[in-house]
Structures are given as structure tokens and as C-alpha cells.
């Protein structure tokens, strides 16, 4: 059988690390895969050395629009660690609230996209309708639906008003009920199970040796969660229980995210009660001493690391940012082998890569010399037609 190369190109290089996968396909079975990144390379690490610490808060926030709260929390935490300053206790609880809100909104987003990926449009619309509640809560607390701009070096910029707390308490039952419905669909619906179970299996040993992080690793029974291993901010006071599934397939990875929705809701409720009174921001010097510090945070997609090296002064000398999707790519690329073409979207979306839709598939059939463009929807329709 002739080996056909299948460029799975990013026609929408929308999100964080859009990929260009090039699959070697033997008929329907994928033999090999080659990953090419860089459609979204903005040279941020170089740009960070030209901006001051204050301006870098807003640059680090715009590395990834969905998990921007994780980026600012990690960046401000790293800079505070370098200067030896600790954020006031109330700010730590507020940071936990805004982090968990962003985790809920990010998980809802990807679960909705996963449902849409397998053609379940109504589920996508339901999930994103309930996600609007979380977006309005974010806007009430931070002032912008997506780009929170809430964290700053030395604390947070606003306090949680009474209006936000009442609004959150009023909306919690609605959110819980919608989470229950998502969990019921993902566990019982035969269509979802058929498309996600036993697809893209990542064994525990591979997950560790290929350094998967976050729900991708926790789906294969690897117990790593920065909030549990290396607690930061208010996670020291509020214990969390790490959710792991041991099947290791796409379904297990999605179920980790579904269960984390309930976990995040509980964390917010608990931290709203335990939040101490007091000021929420501290003064902070503009110039920082020389030194190094490493900050680690659990972003919705996994462990996020900032490594800051400063030679003193207003501007950092070098900041290394390693986003979770970057280290989740290799483990997922290896699970493609042996799967069929139609499973590509299901596996890709289960790792929650921060690129939203690799829409275009260009199947080049060498012997017939015919190039025809199909988008992912037509491909799933193709899969469904011959499956009946």
C-alpha cells in the first residue's frame, strides 16, 4: 500500500500553539506523524526583555487568552519570589478564586469543543450557553470577560464586591446542575463513548517519560498537580484532592476535566468563606535586585513554568515561559500511531491543545494524483457514513 502523507494544516492557527501535523498514512491507519509548530510564534521571550516588569504583566497575560489568569499568577508570583515579597493573605484567596473561575471557563470551553468535534452541536451550544454565566462572573469580578488583568505584582487590583459574591451564590446551583448534565452525557451517551473510549491510549510509563502534564497525564494515572505537590498562594490553606483516571484514553482525559469542574466550584465556595479581611495589594519597588526565581502554577492545561533571571534594574534579563501545551504535544503525537484518520480530531481535542480547530485536512492521494480539501466536519460525516 502506498504511504500517503497527509498534511493536517492549521487553516485556523487560532490559539496558543497551532500545529501542522504531517501524518504518514497507510490507507486508513496512521503510520507516523511529524509535528511542525511556529504559526503563532510571536517572539515573546525576546519582547519581554525590552519591557519593564509592570508592562510584562500584560504581555505575559496575552500569551494564551484562555488561561491568561494562570500566566499572570505565575508571572507575578515569580517576580514576588525574586523580590522576597509575599502577597497579602486576602490577595492570595482572591487569586485562588479568579484562577478557579478561569479553570471552569477553560474546561467548559474545551468540553464544548470536544462535543462539537464529534458532531454533537447541541451539546456544544448548551455547554457554551452555561459558560456565559461564568463569563459574566469573571466580568463582574475583574472587569473584562476574558483578559482579566486582575493580578498585579504585589497583590490584585480590585476587591471582590458583595455584588459578585451574591451573584456567585445565586448562580452556583445552576452551574452544578449543568455540570451534572455534562457528566451524565459523557458517561452514558453511546455516541460520545464510541468516539472517545479506547482512542489515543497513553500508558502511564509513556506519560512520565514523555513528560505529559496536567489532565493529559492525570488521565493516565500520573498523580501530578502543582496545586497539590507544590502549593502556592491560598492552596496551602485549602487542600485539594487530585482527580486521576487510569484508562489513559481520550475519554479518561475528558472525564478528568469534567470532575475538575466540581472540584473548582467547591474550591471557590470554600475560599469565599475563608477569605480574611484586610488590604488586597502591597506597594512594590520598580527596580528589582539581581537574582533568579522559578514560579510554577497549575494552568487549566497543566503545569506552567516561569523562569526569571534578572541582572537588577527595571527590565528582566531573561524570562523562560514553558506553556503546558508545549510539553503535551509529544505524548499525544506518539498516541496517533495505529489510529485511523477519523480519530485524529477526537485525540487532538482530548489533550486540550491550545489551538482551537485544525480545520483543514488536505488528503493527497498520490496514485490518483487528486488533491481534495476536506474540513473536519466533512471528515466526521465521512466516518459516520461508512460506520452505519
Amino acid at each position: 500500500m502506498s504511504i500517503v502523507t497527509l498534511p493536517f494544516g492549521p487553516q485556523h492557527p487560532a490559539l496558543e500553539e497551532p500545529e501542522h501535523f504531517r501524518f504518514k498514512v497507510d490507507g486508513e491507519i496512521i503510520v507516523d506523524v511529524e509535528v511542525r509548530l511556529g504559526y503563532l510564534h510571536r517572539g515573546i521571550e525576546r519582547l519581554m526583555t525590552t519591557k519593564s516588569y509592570i508592562q510584562n504583566i500584560y504581555l505575559s497575560e496575552r500569551i494564551c487568552g484562555i488561561c491568561n489568569v494562570a500566566h499572570t499568577t505565575c508571572y507575578t508570583q515569580t517576580v514576588e519570589q525574586l523580590a522576597g515579597v509575599e502577597a497579602p493573605p486576602r490577595a492570595q484567596y482572591l487569586r485562588l478564586i479568579v484562577n478557579e473561575l478561569a479553570r471552569i471557563h477553560s474546561h467548559l470551553l474545551i468540553i464544548g469543543l470536544a462535543a462539537e468535534e464529534i458532531g454533537f452541536e447541541t451539546m456544544f451550544m448548551w455547554i457554551w450557553r452555561d459558560r456565559e454565566i461564568v463569563m459574566r462572573l469573571m466580568e463582574e469580578l475583574t472587569g473584562n470577560r476574558v483578559m482579566s488583568g486582575y493580578n498585579t505584582i504585589g497583590g490584585v487590583r480590585r476587591d471582590a464586591t458583595e455584588k459578585f459574591i451574591n451573584m456567585f451564590k445565586k448562580k452556583t446551583p445552576v452551574l452544578k446542575e449543568s455540570f451534572e448534565q455534562i457528566k451524565k452525557v459523557f458517561e452514558e451517551d453511546p455516541i460520545v463513548r464510541k468516539r472517545f473510549v479506547d482512542v489515543g491510549i497513553l500508558k502511564k510509563a509513556d506519560a512520565i517519560s514523555l513528560s505529559a502534564v496536567g489532565p493529559t497525564a492525570r488521565g493516565s494515572k500520573v498523580l501530578i498537580d502543582v496545586r497539590y505537590d507544590d502549593p502556592y498562594q491560598a492552596y496551602k490553606e485549602i487542600p485539594i484532592n487530585v482527580i486521576t483516571y487510569d484508562e489513559g484514553d481520550s475519554w479518561a482525559r475528558m472525564m478528568v476535566r469534567v470532575d475538575e469542574l466540581f472540584e473548582s466550584l467547591r474550591l471557590i465556595e470554600e475560599s469565599i468563606e475563608k477569605m480574611p479581611k484586610g488590604d488586597y495589594r502591597k506597594t512594590f519597588p520598580r527596580r528589582l535586585p539581581e537574582g533568579e526565581s522559578i514560579g510554577r502554577v497549575e494552568a487549566p492545561r497543566g503545569e506552567l513554568i516561569y523562569h526569571l533571571i534578572s541582572k537588577g534594574g527595571e527590565k528582566p534579563f531573561r524570562i523562560k515561559v514553558r506553556t503546558p501545551t508545549f510539553s503535551n504535544l509529544l505524548p499525544i503525537a506518539t498516541t496517533f500511531k495505529g489510529e485511523t484518520i477519523a480519530d485524529i480530531p477526537a485525540i487532538l481535542i482530548s489533550v486540550d491543545p491550545c489551538f482551537c480547530c485544525t480545520e483543514r485536512i488536505e488528503i493527497v492521494d498520490i496514485n490518483k494524483g487528486k488533491v481534495w480539501y476536506t474540513s473536519r466536519r466533512e471528515l466526521s460525516r465521512l466516518y459516520r457514513r461508512d460506520q452505519k
Binding site: V35, L37, D229, I294, E303, I305, L330
Partner: protein
């Protein structure tokens, strides 16, 4: 928690021995300064003794006279971040590739090569245009200080 980190640091010191000096730098952060040629053996010994470890990040930075490479590895059981530091000369930075010990380091090393020009010996497919567009010249290393292009 602090005295637990101290115990782990002593344990790492006993494993590394005289091949590098180890110091505890803040909570759960252990820095191990070693040299280029013993790096893989040291990392292999540490992993064999301390259990499952995965690559968190690899940072390359260009100081005045050397290029310093940090290998950040997170040890799952003892919950500590081990950062191995090696220094390379500036003209032809050569570093041993970690992929033989931990395959997960492949993309991190690709990125370090693409942006800083550090050649990792023994790396499966070290190609130039991993992150940068295809038409950039092969000596285009944006994170090097002598890089002049592109700044508007």
C-alpha cells in the same frame, strides 16, 4: 516543609558526590551545578535513586562569556524541582541531549536550538525551522545578544 527539603538536598548531595555542587534555593528548588560531560551520568544516577522524574523545562540563556543551560526536572515522589546547570562556550555551544535518558526533552531541545543555537548531540531530529518561519536564514538566533534583525 523546609527541613524535608533539607533532607532531600542532602540525599541529592550524596548521589551527585563531587561531580557537582548542590544548593537549596527556596522551597522545593534544588540547583545542581555540574559540567557538560558528566551531566547525563549524574541525571541518570539521580533518577535511578529518586524514582519517576519528568522534564519540566529547559532554559537557555546567554551570559557575558558563556551560554548557560538549565535542565529543570520535577521529581514526583519527593516533590522537588531539580535544576541541573551547565555552562557552554559561546562560539560553538554543544550540549549532550537528554532524550536518551528522558525522551520528553525532545521538543524543549528543539526550541533551544532554534532560538539560541545550542546543538544537542544525540538528538533524534534537530532541525532548524522548528518554531521560526521557513525563510529565516540558518544563523538567525533571536535570543542571542548579537541578534540585530527584526527590532522595529
Amino acid at each position: 516543609m523546609a527541613e524535608n527539603d533539607e533532607k532531600i538536598a542532602d540525599k541529592v548531595r550524596s548521589i551527585v558526590g563531587d561531580r557537582g555542587e548542590v544548593h537549596l534555593k527556596g522551597k522545593r528548588r534544588i540547583y545542581i551545578k555540574t559540567s557538560k560531560d558528566v551531566l547525563l551520568k549524574v541525571i541518570k544516577d539521580v533518577i535511578d535513586n529518586m524514582g519517576e522524574t519528568y522534564v519540566s523545562a529547559i532554559t537557555g540563556v546567554e551570559l557575558e562569556d558563556t551560554i548557560r543551560v538549565y535542565y529543570h526536572l520535577w521529581n514526583i515522589r519527593s516533590k522537588v524541582l531539580l535544576s541541573f546547570i551547565i555552562d557552554l562556550n559561546k562560539e560553538a555551544p554543544e550540549a549532550p541531549s537528554l532524550t536518551s535518558v528522558i525522551p520528553g526533552a525532545m521538543f524543549h531541545e528543539n526550541e533551544a536550538y532554534d532560538l539560541l543555537g545550542i546543538k544537542f548531540t544525540g538528538h533524534p531530529n534537530l532541525h532548524k525551522h522548528f518554531l521560526l518561519p521557513e525563510d529565516t536564514p540558518s544563523d538567525f538566533f533571536p535570543l542571542r545578544s548579537n541578534f540585530k534583525g527584526g527590532e522595529k
